[in-house]
């Protein structure tokens, strides 16, 4: 039996939650907007997104920031539903990196 990498309630050794407000970056706001737009179009549901994050590689899950996980799960669902291909996303990403530099 194994608990999921997201299911950490009650685990000892957890660090304290940082409750301080912090500004969202533009890319985080954009991630949220894309997520909401896909929901409004009926393309994905919250439970699908959660499942995609829970199925991620555990090491990747632990090292990603909150909205990075959101973006990864959006990608997973869009590929799963054949709306985009991994190739299309990677190609577009390469274009962006060429124009803007690597993140």
């Amino acid at each position: 039996m194994a608990r999921g990498h997201h299911d950490i309630g009650g685990l000892p050794g957890a660090s304290e939650i940082d409750r301080a407000d912090h500004e969202l970056s533009d890319w985080e706001i954009l991630a949220d907007a894309v997520n909401q737009a896909l929901g409004a179009r009926g393309i994905k549901r919250t439970d699908e997104m959660r499942r995609a994050r829970e199925e991620m590689d555990s090491e990747a899950y632990r090292t990603m920031a909150y909205y990075e996980r959101w973006i990864a799960s959006i990608e997973t669902i869009l590929i799963e539903k054949k709306i985009l291909t991994k190739d299309e996303i990677d190609r577009r990403l390469a274009e962006f990196e060429k124009e803007w530099g690597e993140p």
Partner: protein
């Protein structure tokens, strides 16, 4: 009620720390689409009854900070069995 102690694949809303614990129904929220089905793009039917289940802290944690306080968890009917 006793929470099932199971390790199922897929999207599970019942947190790990509460599986296998015994508590009581505090409130019935109503019937909702099953998230375990929705998580795979299916229709979520049949709907499942969602309960607010209460547990004594002392029944959940080894060293409870406030043993008489309750832990409240939302749990779907198919994760609950009658307490022995």
């Amino acid at each position: 009620m006793k929470v099932k102690f199971e390790d199922r694949p897929g999207h599970i809303r019942t947190p790990w720390y509460i599986r296998g614990k015994t508590g009581w129904v505090e409130r019935i929220y109503g019937d909702f689409l099953n998230p375990e089905s929705l998580a795979f793009g299916r229709d979520g039917l049949p709907k499942k009854t969602l309960y607010l289940v209460a547990f004594y802290q002392s029944d959940v944690w080894e060293k409870p900070q406030a043993p008489k306080d309750k832990v409240l968890v939302d749990i779907y009917e198919h994760w609950l069995d009658p307490a022995a």
